[in-house]
């Protein structure tokens, strides 16, 4: 067995874990990471509304008005979903299926 062939065989053996999921399922997971994060941020905002000082801005200092952690979580989810995830899912679905 040549070294190249052995290496290729090894690579295919190691891809088994990912091959267990179809490309469509993996694309869905990637596309749902962002909305899942947004949902986490929304839940946090509902459970601890006092963390959103914009809802009750009276008497708050400038830092307390600028720092809104649940909104940060929502922003991360949105950026990931709108900027990163579509290209990743597209590349995954365009990938040639392995023999």
């Amino acid at each position: 067995m040549s070294a190249d062939f052995a290496h290729e065989l090894k690579r295919h053996e190691e891809t088994d874990a990912r091959d267990g999921l179809s490309r469509v399922a993996r694309a869905r997971i990637v596309l749902w990471l962002g909305p899942g994060t947004v949902l986490g941020g929304v839940l946090w905002a509902v459970l601890q509304p006092w963390r959103l000082t914009l809802l009750h801005p009276g008497g708050q200092g400038v830092w307390w008005l600028l720092v809104e952690p649940p909104l940060y979580v929502i922003a991360v989810g949105l950026i990931f979903r709108l900027v990163i995830a579509p290209g990743v899912a597209e590349d995954l679905l365009d990938e040639e299926p392995r023999r």
């Binding site: 946090w44 952690p69 979580v73 990931f80 990743v88 590349d91």
Partner: protein
């Protein structure tokens, strides 16, 4: 005194870093799910998480300068800055092709070991002293345990379990940092020496 009034509170800085780590975790999770070949299909993507890591290392230096009030605190923050930059730089080198050995990935493992140790060493109080103390202990042990994931990735770069574990570590790190408050109880426990809790 005026400068102290203008400075953001330490918990705000923890939440900013939590936001960065959350993005880092999502990026690594996506890479783990699709695999390295698909991830590298666009030239900019392999640089994404190493750049974020490196940038957070740079941003840790002003945190070390302005937000530490003891030598051990300063050393801990300095070590986080160094290992974040080291890990980011090594991964950037691998992504660019300047570094060829896959064993450069061991720098990520080293970064987690150093970070975890720094968390544990610089926290002088017991677990239930306050929420910050509890989180420092939790973060330290989590980083030390999760150092095994990048270690495995250095030898088995396609391991789904190791890649997912490494990514999940950053999401967990973000959650724990978001839980941080400057002075707050944890599970109903709060030392009388910890200060006055607020919101």
């Amino acid at each position: 005194m005026i400068v102290a009034g203008l400075m953001p509170q330490a918990e705000f800085v923890h939440w900013w870093f939590a936001t960065g780590f959350l993005m880092l975790g999502l990026v690594l999770l996506a890479e783990a799910v699709v695999g390295p070949e698909v991830w590298r299909k666009r030239a900019w993507r392999p640089y994404l998480w190493p750049s974020l890591c490196f940038a957070m290392g740079i941003l840790m230096w002003p945190v070390m300068t302005f937000f530490t009030n003891s030598a051990i605190h300063m050393v801990a923050h300095g070590s986080w800055a160094e290992v974040l930059m080291l890990c980011g730089a090594a991964e950037l080198g691998v992504a660019r092709g300047k570094l060829h050995s896959q064993y450069w990935r061991l720098t990520s493992s080293l970064a987690l070991v150093v970070s975890g140790t720094a968390f544990l060493v610089h926290e002088q109080n017991a677990w239930l002293f306050s929420r910050a103390a509890f989180l420092h202990h939790t973060l330290g042990w989590t980083a030390l345990i999760c150092a095994v994931f990048p270690f495995v990735l250095a030898f088995r770069p396609r391991s789904l379990v190791a890649a997912t574990g490494f990514a999940t570590f950053f999401v967990l790190l973000a959650v724990l940092l978001y839980c941080d408050r400057d002075v707050a109880p944890v599970f109903g426990h709060f030392s009388q020496f910890a200060g006055v809790p607020h919101r």
